[in-house]
């Protein structure tokens, strides 16, 4: 139903929305701005907005001091790897829960979600010890496993809500057509749920890319992603704001671009089921 919104109200809401948006964006904006300042100007008080001497030397120094590509490659491996394995587990799980629910399915879903309510640091020591004993510390495989497990509850929940929207009769039709369970998943369910799977995939890539707690705790060099790359600039010998900002900008740039292009898909994914 169309509701009449007065021009005044619209104006206030628009201004408010922009204000909130800018407020949220400001730290990122400031980081990017700082990355183009010299170290001296970066800590200047009161700060300068645009009337400083623009320089790209920070980027040069950062690239020289640490190999950006190696970290970036690890980030890509971890984000894609954990997403791939998570989907491999989550698609059949969500399928089972959506189309063949048992008495305890709802409880199971709640339990999975509850694991996200625990502070990760609570599990740090046992996981660290397991990693140490199984020689998984600073390995891509190890950290991919952790990131996958970390995001699995959210992925299963998202896919579950997607799958719930697919009429069961279509899957039954495929069974009547002679499709085995695997073929039903491959030829019917997955293609139909593709928009949902795509937004789940995107969200998980972003979450895995940005994950800092476990990647910082469990990697040092070989498997270190961009979070380590940033952290290495907040060294004990002193803070270098401009270089830290340059490193941060380099680390978030790929995901920012991805997010920008995928925002339509992401918004659709996150509001799916709520709005039809």
């Amino acid at each position: 139903m169309a509701r009449k919104v007065s021009t005044n109200k619209k104006l206030i809401i628009t201004v408010l929305a922009w204000a909130i948006g800018l407020l949220i964006f400001f730290p990122i904006f400031w980081t990017i701005l700082t990355s183009f300042k010299t170290e001296r100007e970066a800590i200047l008080l009161p700060p300068k907005f645009f009337n400083f001497e623009w320089t790209t030397e920070n980027y040069g120094i950062v690239q020289e001091r640490s190999d950006y590509l190696r970290f970036a490659l690890n980030s890509i491996y971890l984000a894609l790897g954990s997403t791939f394995f998570a989907l491999l587990i989550a698609i059949p799980s969500a399928w089972a829960m959506a189309f063949a629910p048992g008495k305890r399915t709802k409880d199971l879903l709640m339990w999975m979600l509850s694991t996200k309510m625990m502070p990760p640091v609570g599990a740090l020591i046992p996981i660290y010890l397991i990693f140490r004993d199984f020689h998984l510390l600073d390995t891509r495989f190890g950290i991919i496993t952790v990131l996958m497990l970390l995001n699995l509850p959210i992925i299963i929940w998202m896919l579950y809500t997607y799958f719930k929207e697919i009429p069961g009769e279509i899957l039954e039709a495929s069974r009547m057509d002679g499709a085995s369970l695997v073929k039903e998943l491959v030829y019917v369910l997955t293609p139909m749920a593709l928009p949902g799977i795509a937004s789940t995939l995107l969200l998980n890539i972003i979450l895995a890319w940005n994950e800092a707690f476990w990647t910082l705790a469990l990697t040092t060099k070989d498997a270190a992603p961009l979070t380590q790359f940033i952290a290495s600039y907040s060294a004990p010998e002193g803070l270098f704001w401009a270089k830290l900002s340059a490193a941060s900008t380099m680390a978030i740039a790929p995901i920012l671009v991805l997010g920008w292009f995928a925002q339509k898909q992401l918004v659709r994914g996150l509001t799916f089921g709520a709005v039809k």
Partner: protein
Amino acid sequence: MGTISLKKVHKAFGATVIIPSADLDIKNGEFVVFVGPSGCGKSTLLRMIAGLEDLTSGQIFIDGKDVSDTPPSKRGLSMVFQSYALYPHMSVRNNIGFGLKMAGESKEMIDGKVAKAAATLNLTDYLDRKPGQLSGGQRQRVAIGRAIVRQPEGFLFDEPLSNLDAALRVNMRIFIMQLHQDLGTTMIYVTHDQVEAMTMADRIVVLNKGNIEQVGSPLELYNKPNSVFVAGFIGSPKMNFVENNTIGIRPEHIEISEKKGDWQGKVLLSEHLGSDTFLHVDAGARGRLTVRASGENTFAPGTNVWMTPDKSRMHYFDKDGRAIHK
């Protein structure tokens, strides 16, 4: 071949019994219609035959082979769903050919069979469209195409026409009957519409609260219903019941006159169909009766009339609603 037998088929969800115990033998090539009010278990029964619903106990045989634990894909049956259940992401061609692809047939074979089915169903021009770009009737035909292309042992129809408008429904009804004549394959058809049941079936299975009330040809059920339930369900308009539901008489078996007759009454309403007129008559203590009169009948509401039931067409029931055959 396509004989289907149910032996003591029982279905319960926890403590709720859906089908207490059903026994039925369907002959090869028969057109059987399951009919009954909503919630009578007819769809559940069909889905158990399909294999989409597990049996709580009992057995189902197809061609003499016990398929009670066989998955739907291995039962050799095709099904047409009420919602059509087409694959929305596939073209009409792939929708129809999906079953053949699952069976591992070669591409040339699939193309040939799909083209033949599409020609039968007037779908040739739509083969490259997606289901979303088709009308309701076209989607229905795709669903039927998907079912026939595999040359199954039997077809299962789950209220396939209930989403179509009235005119299309009549056309599709005739189309399905023609299809049955051409293919000669066993068909089980579920509907809540007794007109569909009467017009299409070789045999009708009337279900009530999960029980099979009566099985018989349309005319058997019409002439010799074995319970008040079947008598009231089969035939349109409904049979009249008088004397505390112990006597039933159909509207077409009552003669109406302004001058003389057995029962007196007053016309309340008349429905003119052109070919017939259905008069709703207040017959005092006998309640409200429906009487079929000729299309030219012009009894106005309020007219006093006399009605004479055809004694030989009266149905008698005991107080439990079972028929007493005299």
